[in-house]
Point group: C2
Chain length 348, copies 2
């Protein structure tokens, strides 16, 4: 009799035997890919924290270190382009570690046929974004791939910052009672990309919120606000960020859905496209978990910076199941979960 | 009469209005692209040194910081794969700054359809290479692009190291009289890639020399060898590395061509393919410029490490025109120049 090992009749390959776009979406599939395949192969205690950036101790200095590759389409969109995004995104990941961004590396993967004029325009934009964010591009690399083996330009940036936060800014520092602040209206980056990719025209052009966030974060730290956790709301949006923190901290996060600022044109676009703004990507928005006694002062500091002038109190941390519960305008509640896959591919 | 600015008849676009493969080849075209387009846009004194890595001072520590994207085809080849290459290449760039490699970031750009089995195999290889090189993968990022917009997998790694060299390990530290050491035989990586890409079969399989080089470099520094400059012999090979250093240092480098170790099978493949081994890429070879009084000791140290056991004295530094002159077996001399473009595209 054949044992189970000897049965060799072909079975259909499972849907997950190959990479699919949703593996890059910041949702459950990506978490599974990282947790089941990448971490077992290359993991270590630092990588396994799965924060946006790592904090490493070098000669007594605490350094934040992070990387992101940018594959956004189209290369230029209202409010930004792939190059400014590549600077802001990495600067923001450093800021979310409670760090002052210092230097960036830039790795370009260019597709044969990319117009030099466009490359020049993008490099000018990258230089301006770095100057605005106060970081130096310290090192770089240029590779070229054959026509049809890339998509114009991909940009990787890695960044080093120096941690200014006195206590770890990580999910495990979050405490019941903490107040959750949101730095401004959500959903603009995702909708700007979607609209410009699909040629959708709204009455008001939605511009990406792409911006460097280090200034308000460093201001919070300088004023000794007890900042327990920070997270920028990129792939997966506000929803994924809150769920990741709730699970990482082992706490319940309650959110007042009516408090979430969404511009009318973004709300309209989301309704038209069947999207939940909670999961739409942002590139210049973050949440801050702070001690309740510091919440008012923190809100004031955030509102003093143009990039976070629309900051609001979003919710509270409580003891309980690690989950995120949103209370709607009519008092109804819903549990916010991770998005399963990809809402908008190649958003950053 | 029309002025020159008013003449608008269409002229053929110059060959360089678009990116071509040779822009990625480590030769003259790449140097021009970086010097004329990228540096003016994002340049600063650190980036403008154009070393393989930058040295930045953070809280009194001298850190080396470097990045490279890997786009090699095929993904697996005799002696290595894209993942081990992505670790070794970046570790080596740190070592060439006279630094001890500490942490790496890994940015993956995956093409839809990449088999998960292959990804798993590559991540295992990446983990092994990191362990062998003694570095931690501290942070990472995963992006997915549509089928036909990538090429299986591209890997970016950035790395941080701590500079152990007491004096700057840069071309400008090179002095007339310095001895040039070469760490072993050249040309294997390029020929291994070429052969496996083109399906060439030689009597002996040529294996890539891809390997981490930090151990012999740190040994030189620990023994207080006066190391003035180091360079690994990647894109552009030994030839490009020597020319870049001669120009950066403003010195003449004389090389004994008969001293350059080239394995017979590599020599045969080069002759067959019409390639000069001097310009063929390596991924585990470097040159060291050291004080003449330390040369013998340095050679002994290099030879004590498996990865540089074939080290030889390659040449000398003299005053004179910044150029590289090779003396052949019959006493003839030739000037070694930068390769103009791409000898083998997508070699790393």
């Amino acid at each position: 009799m054949a044992t189970i090992d000897e049965i060799t009749c072909p079975v259909p390959a499972p849907a997950t035997s190959q990479i699919i776009l949703a593996h890059g979406g910041g949702g459950r599939l990506m978490h599974r890919l990282i947790g089941q395949l990448i971490l077992p192969a290359v993991g270590n205690p630092i990588l396994s924290t799965l924060h946006d950036g790592a904090v490493v101790e070098v000669n007594g200095s605490r350094l934040a270190f992070t990387t992101d590759s940018y594959v956004v389409r189209p290369l230029k969109f209202p409010g930004g382009d792939i190059a400014s995004l590549a600077v802001n995104g990495t600067v923001n990941d450093l800021a979310m570690c409670g760090a002052r961004p210092l230097v960036l590396s830039v790795g370009l993967i260019l597709e044969e046929g990319l117009p030099l004029d466009l490359l020049n325009e993008l490099m000018q934009s990258l230089g301006r974004a770095a100057a605005e964010a106060g970081v130096l591009v310290a090192t770089g690399d240029t590779k070229v791939v054959d026509r049809g083996k890339g998509d114009g330009i991909f940009i990787n940036t890695a960044g080093i910052g120096i941690v200014e936060a006195k206590t770890p800014v990580v999910p495990s520092s979050v405490r019941p009672g903490d107040v959750v602040l949101l730095s401004g209206d959500i959903g603009r980056h995702g909708i700007a990309i979607m609209a410009s990719r699909e040629g959708l025209v709204f009455e008001t052009t939605v511009e990406s919120d792409s911006a460097p966030l280090a200034a308000p974060v460093l201001h919070l730290l300088r004023e000794d606000i007890a900042v327990h956790c920070l997270r920028d709301l990129t792939r997966g949006g506000l929803g994924a960020a809150l769920v990741e923190i709730a699970r990482g901290a082992g706490v319940k996060v309650t959110v007042d859905e009516a408090a979430i600022p969404v511009r009318p044109e973004v709300q309209a676009a989301c309704e038209l496209l069947g999207l939940d703004p909670l999961y739409v990507a942002n590139e210049g928005r973050f949440v801050a978990f702070v001690s309740p006694e510091d919440a008012d002062r923190a809100l004031g500091i955030l509102r003093a910076h143009p990039v976070s002038s629309g900051a609001v109190v979003l919710g509270r941390v409580a003891e309980g199941e690690p989950e995120v519960v949103a209370t709607g305008v009519l008092g109804t509640t819903r549990v916010i979960d991770l998005p399963s896959g990809e809402q908008l591919p190649r958003i950053c």
